[in-house]
């Protein structure tokens, strides 16, 4: 270990440094996350993604204030005829749906439902996966073998189809979708964290920590684990996009209960299916909401991945 500063000095002396632009602060010495935050701020994709996500989160949080009508309320029921679904008007900015609910209110309450499902299921998948990955990565041996076989097994079925069957078994409740999407994320996070921990295990700093006499638990929990988390966090951000889309897909297929009038983007698309010729806007708006939310999470996740990737650093 004592040779290390010397080696760095040699590098410093012999490797010529290219001209640095004055705006480029020195990354050396700054923490991983501080550097990442700085790089995120300079990435237009990250900013667009963050703005989209924040916007939808705000809409979801402020739904009771923003939505002109309550969730599931049918203020325009009297105006609905079998062949007429009134379009935008002063009272209903985006028009009504088949049942007489205000489309804008439904979309706003839908943001709440869709984001909640997406976030809760990803948290569930992250926690479950991290626990399994931690077990496998920390103990190795037969624990690792058993866990990873289980993970392989779950990955042997395409995720959406696995989610469909899990949700179908749990029954027609909204939590079925959250659990189903969370469950199919578990193997992905487990494998990722385990791989990341294995890559850290042979690093010098781990050896150093062990030689200082730290217990295995301390080494794993306070040294290996924190250093293995960044790919998991990136994956979780990207997974939020997948979760929102898959949640919509499951409720589009009729899973998760709820009535045709419930304010949830996927369910709104199912209902719109029959009105495509009469009122295509009923499909348009919830579809755009899902896509834009997914876009926000994807842009931010990709930018985060780039910002944390040592290979693309110092560019």
């Amino acid at each position: 270990m004592t040779t290390e500063p010397a080696a760095q000095d040699v590098v410093r002396q012999t490797v010529p440094r290219g001209p640095r632009t004055p705006r480029e602060p020195d990354d050396a010495g700054a923490s991983l996350w501080r550097v990442a935050a700085r790089r995120l701020r300079r990435n237009p994709g990250a900013i667009v993604g963050a703005v989209i996500v924040l916007l939808f989160v705000l809409v979801a949080l402020l739904a009771p204030v923003l939505a002109p009508y309550g969730a599931g309320a049918l203020p325009g029921r009297a105006e609905i005829r079998p062949t007429v679904i009134p379009g935008p008007s002063d009272a209903f900015p985006l028009g009504l749906d088949r049942y007489g609910a205000d489309l804008l209110s439904q979309l706003i309450w839908g943001a709440r439902a869709s984001l909640l499902i997406g976030i809760l299921s990803t948290v569930l998948g992250l926690l479950g996966g991290a626990l399994l990955g931690l077990l496998a990565g920390a103990f190795g041996g037969w624990v690792d073998t058993v866990t990873m076989r289980l993970v392989d097994l779950m990955l042997s079925v395409p995720s959406l189809l696995l989610a469909v069957s899990v949700a179908a078994v749990i029954g027609q409740t909204p939590s079925a979708i959250i659990i189903a999407i969370g469950v199919v994320q578990v193997p992905i996070f487990a494998r990722l964290l385990r791989g990341s921990m294995l890559a850290q295990r042979d690093q010098d700093y781990v050896l150093a920590a062990s030689s200082l006499g730290l217990g295995r638990r301390t080494v794993v929990m306070s040294h290996i684990l924190p250093n293995s988390l960044s790919p998991v966090i990136v994956q979780a951000t990207l997974m939020l996009a997948t979760a929102v889309i898959e949640a919509a897909a499951l409720s589009f297929l009729g899973l998760g209960g709820g009535s045709p009038t419930s304010a949830e983007w996927g369910r709104m698309l199912t209902a719109a299916q029959n009105e495509l010729e009469v009122a295509p806007r009923l499909a348009m708006w919830p579809g755009v909401c899902i896509a834009v939310t997914a876009l926000g999470f994807t842009l931010f996740g990709e930018a985060l991945r780039e910002a944390l990737d040592p290979k693309t650093r110092k560019r």
Binding site: L160, A168, V169, F252, G254, Q273, L276, A283
Partner: protein, 334 residues
């Protein structure tokens, strides 16, 4: 190569066994047990007891499992509670439709995605490249069923260029020896039937192919950019290899390796997407069948479907590994 295939096929057995155990326990973990699942919530105790005896649910659990596995091996996936027809029979009748749809979707994805990614990489940083990057981002964020809606509305409802639902015009009288409608028309020389079936395929296949297309274009672009800058490409150029030959023999060949893996990974996405696309276009494949089974809580179908898909998925991944050997000589040596 034959050994690789055999070894991979052998590895499939423990996976399927494990999966079958999970599925077996899954149905038995249902609230009220499988008999209630079959009969519904309001079943009388006598009916439940009769079903338990009939299906052997009252036997020791290990015996039940062995019996069930024995049936599965013989291709007996049970009987659909909704239609009363053996699950396997239903699958086999509908599977050609799904294969037809996914194959055309994959061909679109490969046929458009690879050239698009390649051209973008060759014009890195220019408008075409940025366009491709944006397109591939949209491709993965637009839900496939929403895209299916958009295509259906625009090209079927508004413009009327393509039919909006089904596999073939109901008034079309045609024989179907294989179940692949486009192929059937060609075999029986019923050209109009073949053409009609093809027209019915276009919109669902484009919708279904959108996600793999975006992913393939993106990976191709990244891979070509990486290979273009590799030392061995510079060496080959320095040794006087002409650019067209260099691109064909060195750049494309090496850049295709990650693309081949990616294509294999799309099979799962395609099968999942088929469930949604078939629902939107009332395309009578196993996907829409599964969607109907979900509504009816038809567990035999759900269970059979998962096993069926796992086998298809595993075989597809095996095919990718084999194709890897064909592209990369280094893999053949192992």
């Amino acid at each position: 190569m034959a050994r690789l295939v055999l070894r991979r096929l052998a590895l499939l057995i423990p996976t399927l066994l494990g999966l079958s155990i999970l599925l077996f326990l899954w149905v038995r973990a249902l609230p009220g047990g499988p008999a209630t699942a079959l009969l519904g919530e309001r079943a009388t105790p006598e009916a439940v007891a009769r079903i338990n005896e009939l299906y052997g649910f009252d036997r020791p659990i290990l015996e039940q499992y062995v019996t069930w596995i024995g049936e599965l091996v013989r291709g007996n996936f049970g009987v659909s509670t909704r239609t009363g027809v053996p699950v396997m029979e239903e699958f086999l009748a509908r599977f050609p439709a799904t294969i037809e749809l996914t194959v055309v979707a994959l061909l679109i994805a490969i046929g458009v995605g690879i050239p698009l990614g390649y051209v973008a990489a060759r014009h890195q940083g220019r408008a075409l490249d940025h366009g491709t990057v944006v397109l591939s981002l949209l491709g993965v964020t637009i839900p496939v069923f929403f895209l299916a809606f958009l295509l259906k509305y625009l090209f079927a409802v508004q413009l009327g260029w393509f039919p909006s639902a089904g596999r073939i015009d109901p008034s079309m009288i045609a024989t179907h020896p294989t179940g692949f409608y486009v192929l059937d028309g060609l075999l029986t020389r019923e050209w109009d039937a073949s053409w009609d079936a093809l027209l019915h395929l276009v919109l669902p296949a484009v919708a279904l192919g959108s996600i793999p297309l975006a992913i393939i274009a993106r990976i191709t672009r990244a891979s070509v950019i990486e290979v273009q800058g590799a030392d061995y490409v510079r060496t080959a150029r320095a040794k006087g290899l002409r650019p067209p030959r260099l691109r064909r023999r060195v750049v494309i060949r090496n850049a295709m390796l990650p693309v081949a893996t990616t294509i294999g990974l799309q099979v799962g996405l395609l099968l999942s997407g088929a469930v949604l696309t078939e629902t939107v276009f009332a395309f009578n494949g196993i996907g829409s069948f599964l969607a109907e089974a979900i509504f009816a809580l038809d567990y035999a179908v759900l269970q059979g479907f998962i096993l069926f898909v796992a086998v298809v998925y595993a075989l597809a991944n095996l095919a990718v590994d084999v194709s890897y050997g064909l592209i990369d000589p280094r893999m053949r040596a192992r």
